[in-house]
Subunit: 421 residues, 2 copies
Amino acid sequence: MRQSTLIFHTRKEAPKDEVAVNAQLLIRAGFIDKLMAGVYTYLPLGLLVLKKIETIIRTEMRAIGGQEILMPVLHPKALWEKTGRWSTLESLFKFKGLNSEIEFALGPTHEEVITPLVQGENLSYKDLPVYLFQIQDKFRDEVRAKSGLLRGREFIMKDLYSFHATEEDLNTYYEKVRGAYETIFKKAGIGDMTYFTFASGGTFSTYSHEFQTLSESGEDTIYVCESCRVAVNREIIAEQRACPECGSEDLKERNAIEVGNIFKLKTKYSSAFRLGYKDKDGSEKMVVMGCYGIGLSRLMGTVVEVSHDEDGIIWPLSLAPASLHLLSIGAESEGLKKTAERVYNGLVKEGIETLFDDRMDVSAGEKFSDSDLIGIPYRIVVSEKLLKEGNVEVRDRKTKTVEIVKEADLVPFLKKTFLSS
Amino acid sequence: MRQSTLIFHTRKEAPKDEVAVNAQLLIRAGFIDKLMAGVYTYLPLGLLVLKKIETIIRTEMRAIGGQEILMPVLHPKALWEKTGRWSTLESLFKFKGLNSEIEFALGPTHEEVITPLVQGENLSYKDLPVYLFQIQDKFRDEVRAKSGLLRGREFIMKDLYSFHATEEDLNTYYEKVRGAYETIFKKAGIGDMTYFTFASGGTFSTYSHEFQTLSESGEDTIYVCESCRVAVNREIIAEQRACPECGSEDLKERNAIEVGNIFKLKTKYSSAFRLGYKDKDGSEKMVVMGCYGIGLSRLMGTVVEVSHDEDGIIWPLSLAPASLHLLSIGAESEGLKKTAERVYNGLVKEGIETLFDDRMDVSAGEKFSDSDLIGIPYRIVVSEKLLKEGNVEVRDRKTKTVEIVKEADLVPFLKKTFLSS
């Protein structure tokens, strides 16, 4: 990908009304654009990151048997009235069509759609369990939306719903999803700082867990047991000041961001929509449900919150818009141009994703600071000075360590040192 | 993909209020589910088709230099007021947030978002041309929505926008997009029956063209010049009863479905949002724009409208949820089961996408009629009778021709006969 073809440039300043670090950096680096509070456009670099997150999540959802579907954004009022949430869910966007004369909600979650959808199939015990997921836009009518990608009025979520004959079966699958979520957060580079949290508050206190990533900009406070790698959230601590796994009372208070949640819905929604199944003995029983969410856009924002420095974003290799940022620096001689093109083509040929800063009218300083801001994991510099010795420079964005490598040895060096993991 | 794992079964009847053939067949075959008029869920098989359409379109958009972005569904009122379309576009969904106290539109198209987005980059002549596209949900507040996937209240579109320094450059790119669209419709199996149509009606009469696919269920009437492979639509015919390419007056009246449109917007939107660029001589000039749409969901519906028979859908290989439908038929002996599994695993190993009807409690007749309804291009039957001779049966869904092939020869036969194109 040639940087000269990218229309969306880096910026020195984020919009004045943007207070969240994740949005400030992502806007300045040209990954997203703010349309209004809590509503963003994904620009080419940002969409590349989003697609990588999507692929990681989709892979793990398929690995635990998830079948992908795509449900609508527009929901009819009648379904939300059945569960009572038309009037109780404060953040629900509700409106009436002028022509269609129907009242709609914009989906903030999809229990009200998926439960009657599955109900239409007249299940028998043989059909269960069933696991269905989607990756879709979601909407919340937030009073204020000041946290960038962490809390949008419009955001992108993966929601998985599971349908079981028994609570035991739900419990078994719930643990499987927990494992898949741990893999996803590990792959996204935040495994170390993400805790499985015993949740509370709201309707599902006893049946729900969250995944919380430690960050100073998080909205939640959790209490972490370092030895067990689990946490409890603020509401639980009032009742029971101890680790739910080992009983330790040595819990550390931390700010955290909720990056995922898993709920045992049990028969709450299947009862509302009469979603039953015919059991072996011919009797009708209620289906037992679970639901499991990860915000893709929130995960993107979280990674930026926990992985940046004063110069910009530091992407993990798994989510970066490219693995390498190749910079052609200094007087634009024909020799240098040729070398830079040769290096670029060599990398492309090897299938190594490379952003090539081939811009002609940009100073070295600007290229360096743009590269730090954009935050691609490894920077390769080609310059007149290095060229004389047949060398290129390789720099690690995170550790800032620099190595000088012979141009001919570059690809094997990268594969051995950086890209093997 | 094992059919026994698919929860969404085929149906004998579509919903009574569903009059469109495309929706009737897609619902009966388990590709989509109707949530309300003009709003559908894509089930696993339907989403597979949608993803294939998406890949075809994305490939061709990239081939003509398109960079992918993703713009929001929620638009602020202010932008739609700038172009006047807040009050003039009748099908615009408009509403006020209860908490956010802002008025929103749901995007039916994105000129009001992309023009100020690009305007923010302070373009110079060096930045142009720019080509940006997205694949995103769109919304129209339709009075009635009775045409299934052909006219949804919620639908999925690819919209490409181009930005140029001059009208000449727009004209050149416009022809490139025309070529890309022809490739897309050819790949989607409707190239032969899709015509480049000189459009009229509405604001852009002189500057717009449509791609119209001949179908009895289309909403449009076009006049086709068979020799030139172009058409004109009903409004133009009143003024000028002749082929715009060859001047022939021998035009045939036909019903057609609009599957794509291309517009020369010129400076309509750049003027509204003061989207200029700095030219070589330092002067400020208006950017010249084009926009180009294809409805992915409408394309899916169109293919079903023009490619089905009394038994069900007939997918082109390029869009089918799988290339082969493998049916295990008759008494479920251990020998038959083993053979069917062996054939299935052999096909999967070869990377041939196969839907395997491994259901145990379903009659042969039901499997055959389900297979015709679902419409995968090639059906492979494994039965006790065939097994005795070491044979399998291969049937072409479209021509209904049947061939008996030795099991050992199946993969080479398929590759040679069907899957090579």
